[in-house]
Every structure is written in structure tokens, then in C-alpha cells.
């Protein structure tokens, strides 16, 4: 077992940076997910860790040892590829045993180890088949077995479940987590599916355009996105973001108005001077939005909207409203009145539920004078985040909402 440290890793294709100064430490024994949209550099980063690709600059340490130019074989990593990449001409047993056999492990010893891993993965009865005689889920297990049989110190998985159907995917992700609990391997898991990432990881890294946006335990990433991108990306539905600028600011009070569109405003206490005209992205979670024709608040956010579509979600109704041509999503709890299509109404949220992101760098604002909500770290962070049930309290993980 080993930790994996990346320090300012850069991978360029021409002028384009597929991986842009990524620095992160993956701890010994943790299940670490890299989450991000398609093309953000997840696979590239994983291949750099595996040694299948070279970083143009930066350092990779595996188990404390510098591995920048080490061959994959020397890195002691196992990898599960997105399309499984099984050896089509070999039986399942030969596939799994391949890494042992090329290392000159005697056949009987190899067989014993294959049988052992096959029992764990429940593929013992498939050992004599060829890959093309297997279903997608079975291939996935075989690929996992092949990666695990050598007991590598780091396990890398590149979207291993993306070719499976939803049900099987949900089943397999629990199994992978169970396996991880059992074997305790340092695991780097790449996915573009946030549910998967949030459900199974110890920590999640959100990537965008080759850069790290946020690293943290699932609950933290879900509840406290630290950049504008993370706020837009995580949660289903994710946060609403409205661009606003400071309209009036005094020592104790600040008022912001929407940059485009009319009538949306934010008012709240401020501690320190803000310049008029300074712009922010104001983020508000759908669950924190209250829909009512009369806003009862004098502090917080108020947005006049037109009701559009009501969508049934697992734990409530999602109200899609429009404001200045944009979609604003609010969650209505059971029993809340639902406005009729085209009805004008107001959505509002208390000051304390708002998050501010700088318009220039997209970072969450904490020190510029706007006092921003920073909730207590959620109770169960990191430890049992994958536990069954809905650990996300606010229903941010609609089972079918994506």
C-alpha cells in the first residue's frame, strides 16, 4: 500500500494543457475519486499515475518514491480500463494470471492466487471462458480481478462502470466499495458520474479544464462547493447562480442587484467596506429557496420569477422557474403550494444560506467583507459516506434526477 503524491503535474498537447498544475496527495488506503466533465483531463491524469503517459513537468511520488519516469511495471499499480481491455485470446484464468505469469510466478502458485481472487469476485465459474463469452458486468469483474491479483499498492480505475446499465452500476459501486473496505487498497477512481463519486469515495477531487477545483470529502464537496464551477457541477439539481453587483455598501449593510435582469436583489449585513460595482456570483441551493408571492424577508435574496415546469423528484417537487431568461430551480417540500404555469411569483432565501463566488477567479469569497455561510462540517463526513440510505439530508441526491 502506498500514498500517491502529485506536485504541479502538467501535461500539454501543443499549447493546450490537458492537465494543468495538479497538486494533490492521495492518502494511503483511501478511495479517492476524480470527478469532472468529459475532457477535463481525468484519464490523462490517471494514465500519468499509471506510467502510461508522461507529465511534461511536475512530480509523481508513489509510496514516497519519485516515479516520474518509472515504467508502469515498476510502479506496482493495477489498472481497470474503461473498456476493460481484457486479452481476447486468453481465458479468464489466463487473463487474471497474466501479471503473475510474466513475473515468473510458478503456475501452481499463480493458479492458487487466481482462485483466491476469483472467489472474492465471484467469477470462479467463469475461469475457463474467453472474454467475449462474458457479459459486461462479468468482464468488469475479470478486469478488476486482473488488476487486483498482484496485490498492487495502488489501484487505478478509469470509469470502470460506465459501460454498465444503471442497476448493475449501482450494485457494482457498492461491491467495489465493499472490496475496498476489505482490501484497503489505495484507490484512484475516475468518473464523470457525481452520484458514483459521492456515494463511494473517501474524498473527491473535482477537475475542470485540467485544473483542480476542489478536493474534499463527499459531503463537503456536496454542501460547500468552493468554486463557482464546483457549485454548478455538484448536486442534483446543483446550486442556482445569479450574477450580482454591489449596489450600496455601508460599514454594516450591503445591497446587491442582479447584473442582467430586473428586480432581483440581495441584502445583508456586511463587515467591512465593499466597493460599489464589485461583482459576485450569488449561489443558492434549490432546497433553500422559498417560493411565495410575498417575500417575508428583508435580509437575503429575493428574485422575481415566472413559473415554468414542475418536475416530480424523489423527495419533493422541483420547480423550474425563469428569471431573465435563465432557469432558477427551487425545491418545494410536500404540501407546499405549487404555482401555476406562467404565474409570477418570488423565490427568496435567507442571507445565511447564500454563497458568494468571485466573478474573476470563481473562488468562494470569505475575506472580502461579505460574511458567507460556512456551516459546521457535516457529521458523518468522510467515514461512512457510502452507507446505504440517504446521507445527504437535504435530498441533494435525487435518485433519478440526472
Amino acid at each position: 500500500m502506498a500514498s500517491v503524491e502529485l506536485a504541479e503535474v502538467v501535461r500539454r498537447y501543443g499549447a493546450f494543457r490537458a492537465v494543468d498544475e495538479v497538486s494533490v496527495e492521495i492518502r494511503d488506503g483511501e478511495l479517492f475519486t476524480i470527478l469532472g466533465p468529459s475532457g477535463c483531463g481525468k484519464s490523462t491524469l490517471l494514465r500519468i499515475v499509471a506510467g502510461l503517459d508522461r507529465a511534461d513537468s511536475g512530480d509523481i511520488r508513489i509510496g514516497g518514491k519519485l516515479a516520474n519516469s518509472a515504467e508502469p511495471a515498476a510502479r506496482d499499480v493495477g489498472m481497470v480500463f474503461q473498456n476493460y481491455a481484457l486479452y481476447p485470446h486468453l481465458t479468464v484464468r489466463e487473463n487474471v494470471a497474466f501479471g503473475l505469469r510474466v513475473r515468473k510466478v510458478p503456475r501452481r502458485e499463480a493458479d492458487r492466487q487466481v482462485d483466491e481472487i476469483a472467489a472474492i469476485l465471484e467469477i470462479a465459474d467463469l475461469l475457463d471462458r474467453k472474454p467475449r463469452q462474458l457479459s459486461g458486468g462479468q468482464r468488469q469483474r475479470v478486469a478488476l480481478g486482473r488488476a487486483l491479483v498482484r496485490r498492487p499498492s495502488v489501484l487505478l480505475m478509469d470509469e470502470p462502470l460506465s459501460n454498465l446499465d444503471t442497476l448493475l452500476r449501482e450494485k457494482m459501486r457498492v461491491e467495489i466499495r465493499r472490496l475496498h473496505n476489505r482490501l484497503g487498497l489505495t484507490t484512484i477512481y475516475v468518473t464523470h458520474d457525481q452520484q458514483e463519486a459521492l456515494a463511494m469515495s473517501d474524498r473527491v477531487m473535482i477537475m475542470n479544464r485540467g485544473r483542480v477545483e476542489q478536493v474534499g470529502p463527499p459531503l463537503e464537496v456536496l454542501h460547500e462547493p468552493s468554486t463557482e464551477f464546483a457549485a454548478r457541477f455538484v448536486g442534483s439539481p446543483p446550486m442556482n447562480l445569479i450574477r450580482m453587483q454591489v449596489h450600496e455598501a455601508s460599514e454594516t449593510q450591503v445591497t446587491l442587484q442582479a447584473v442582467d435582469g430586473d428586480g432581483a436583489w440581495v441584502q445583508g449585513p456586511a463587515s467591512g467596506a465593499l466597493a460599489c460595482g464589485q461583482q459576485f456570483w450569488v449561489g443558492v441551493r434549490p432546497a433553500d429557496l422559498d417560493v411565495s408571492p410575498t417575500a417575508g424577508t428583508r435580509s437575503g435574496l429575493v428574485v422575481p420569477v415566472v413559473m415554468d415546469v414542475a418536475e416530480l423528484a424523489r423527495d419533493g417537487v422541483l420547480l423550474h422557474c425563469s428569471y431573465a431568461g435563465r432557469n432558477v430551480v427551487a425545491t418545494a417540500g410536500a404540501g407546499d403550494p405549487i404555482p401555476a404555469l406562467g404565474e409570477r411569483t418570488l423565490v427568496s432565501a435567507p442571507w445565511g444560506s447564500l454563497t458568494f463566488y468571485g466573478c474573476d477567479d470563481g473562488r468562494r469569497v470569505r475575506a472580502t467583507g461579505v460574511s458567507v455561510r460556512w456551516p459546521e462540517p457535516a457529521t458523518a463526513a468522510a467515514s461512512t459516506s457510502w452507507a446505504p440510505g440517504d446521507p445527504y439530508g437535504d435530498g441533494g441526491l435525487g435518485g433519478d434526477a440526472r
Partner: protein, 330 residues
């Protein structure tokens, strides 16, 4: 299986549309469909018949006759074969052909594979890949007769390029086409130059079918380059290798033009010094058109044909043991 009404409708019934068949499929017009196939293969079949099947059948018949171009042919039974198998020159030519084929096939295959792998690795990230492929393939599209004249100069013992280069490095200079030992190897060198690009293209196509991720998986699994090649790439390439071996055997066993141009005619008439390049194809030509023994030549062709069929059948049978026909799932 339950029978639907449409299933039992007679196939020849063209008047009522068949409900069992998807509308719009070409089968819904049996009148056209039935003949379209024949119609489409007709030109090819016609050409094959005219230029291949008819002459082949003719040759087959001829080999059992004393054939005379100017009339007076008579049935000869196995007499031609009897003469043939008592001809030391014929056996010598079979041995020379075996020597030629035995060198050409493995060298073509190995060098073709090596070239393909070099091209693939060397040009993996480069736009020059197409140019590289074209250059490698180029010799194969040059006319044999034209390029072997150039190579005849290369092999000239006194002012040829080969011996000039050998002279520069101080190596012994063989007599090439004038030497009974070196004449056939000279033809081989030319033939490899001419054909290796052809086989390299096959291997390039074969290598393109080997998924990159499977090779990467082997690297992560800890396989060395040789182990990756031996245990992953080679098995996945085996259908290509098999095809190259079959084609190589068939092509080199029938090699004629370069043998004729380099060592026939002006270079000693009958195929090299002391008949040293008198391969089967050349001997057939000489027998038919120089010695004017048409039926003897026909008999030799028939034997060559039987040898080819037999070798191919054996290769095909052996292939079951080493060729992987599974294909790759993406």
C-alpha cells in the same frame, strides 16, 4: 416456434406481398433479388472463366496428351509425368524453388512485420505516417521487369553498386548473378525488396486491429516489450500472419518475372549459371516456349498446382493450433 401464415407461403409466390417479410427489404422483390446476385457476379465470373477456368481445364487436359501446336496431338496417359519424374533437372528445379520459398516466406513475413512495427511506432504521432507507408509500399507497385533491370546493374560483378559498396568496406565481392552460389540469393534480395512493403501493409492493418488499451494493460501488468509482443500482440496478429504466410508461399512459389529478367534470357538462357536459378516457374516457361514441350510444361504446372494446394491445406490445418480467430471486442 409457431408458424405464422406468412411463413408457409410458397417462396415462388410473387403476386401477394409476403406479410412475414419486412416491407422495403430487398427480399420483398424476389423477381429482381433472385437474379441481381447472378447479374452482379456475372462480369467477374465471365472474366475468370475466360482467362482462368478455361485455360486451367485446357492445361489439365493437355498434361495427359502429347500436344502438338500444329496438329497431330495424341492421348499419352501418364507418359508426361513419367518423363518429368525421370528428369534430374526437374528435381533440381523443385529443390531450388523450395530453397527460394523457404527463404522468401519467413524473411518477407519477419521483415514485413518489423517494417510495419517501425512505421507504426515511428509515425504514431506524426503526419508523415502516410508518406512512410507509401514509400514502403512503392517498390511493390514498380514493374518487375523494369526494376529488375536496375537491380541487374546493382548486381553486376564489375561495375555494380553492390560490389562497389562491398569494395568500400573491404568485404569479399561475390559474382552475384554470374555465380552459381549467389545467383538465386541475388534474386531473393531483389524479390524481398519488391515484396516486403506489400506484406508490411498487411501487418500494418493487422496491428491497427490490436487495441492500444490491451497493450497498455499488458504493460501495467508488468510485461516487458518482448512479453507483450509474444503473449498479446502476436496472438492477436495471428490471422494476419497466417494470411501473409499463405500469400507469401503462393506468390513466391510462382515467382517468374524477376527470375527471368535477372537470370533468364541474356544471363545464361536456362536460368542462371549451371541452372542455379532454374525455379519451377522458369523451367515451366523454358519447357513450353524454348524447348517447345507444351504438354510437359502443362504436366509441370499441374504438379505445381497440386503442391500449392497441398501446402495451403496443411497450413490451414496447422493454423487451428496457433491462429486466434476470436476478434477483439473493441
Amino acid at each position: 416456434m409457431t408458424l405464422v401464415r406468412g411463413d408457409v407461403a410458397p417462396a415462388t409466390d410473387v403476386t401477394t406481398p409476403d406479410p412475414g417479410r419486412a416491407p422495403g427489404s430487398h427480399r420483398s422483390r424476389p423477381g429482381f433479388g433472385r437474379f441481381a446476385g447472378y447479374l452482379l457476379v456475372m462480369p467477374a465470373l465471365g472474366i475468370l472463366t475466360l482467362f482462368f477456368y478455361v485455360p486451367a481445364a485446357f492445361l489439365f487436359v493437355m498434361s495427359f496428351y502429347h500436344w502438338n501446336l500444329f496438329g497431330g496431338s495424341a492421348f499419352a496417359g501418364l507418359a508426361n509425368f513419367d518423363v518429368l519424374f525421370h528428369q534430374p533437372l526437374y528435381f533440381k528445379s523443385l529443390l531450388e524453388t523450395a530453397y527460394f520459398v523457404g527463404v522468401m516466406v519467413p524473411v518477407d513475413a519477419l521483415m514485413g512485420l518489423a517494417l510495419a512495427m517501425l512505421l507504426r511506432e515511428g509515425f504514431r504521432r506524426s503526419r508523415a505516417g502516410g508518406l512512410g507507408r507509401a514509400l514502403v509500399f512503392l517498390p511493390h507497385v514498380t514493374p518487375v521487369v523494369a526494376t529488375s533491370v536496375i537491380w541487374a546493374w546493382v548486381f553486376n560483378p564489375r561495375y555494380g553498386l553492390a560490389n562497389y559498396l562491398l569494395h568500400l568496406v573491404g568485404a569479399p565481392q561475390p559474382g552475384w548473378l554470374d555465380s552459381a552460389t549467389w545467383a538465386l540469393p541475388s534474386v531473393m534480395i531483389y524479390s524481398i525488396w519488391h515484396s516486403v512493403g506489400y506484406y508490411a501493409v498487411f501487418f500494418l492493418a493487422g496491428l491497427a486491429m490490436v487495441p492500444d488499451t490491451v497493450v497498455e494493460a499488458a504493460r501495467v501488468d508488468g510485461a516487458s516489450s518482448w512479453q507483450t509482443f509474444r503473449r498479446v500482440v502476436a496472438p492477436l496478429l495471428s490471422p494476419t500472419t497466417f494470411m501473409v504466410l499463405i500469400l507469401g508461399t503462393v506468390n513466391s512459389m510462382q515467382t517468374f518475372s524477376q527470375v527471368y529478367t535477372l537470370t533468364g534470357g541474356p544471363h545464361g538462357g536456362a536460368g542462371g549459371p549451371a541452372f542455379s536459378t532454374s525455379t519451377d516457374a522458369l523451367l515451366i516457361y523454358n519447357t513450353a516456349f524454348i524447348y517447345q514441350h507444351l504438354s510437359l510444361a502443362a504436366a509441370m504446372s499441374l504438379v505445381l498446382f497440386v503442391i500449392l494446394i497441398t501446402i495451403t491445406a496443411i497450413q490451414k490445418r496447422l493454423s487451428r493450433r496457433w491462429v486466434f480467430y476470436g476478434g477483439t471486442e473493441r
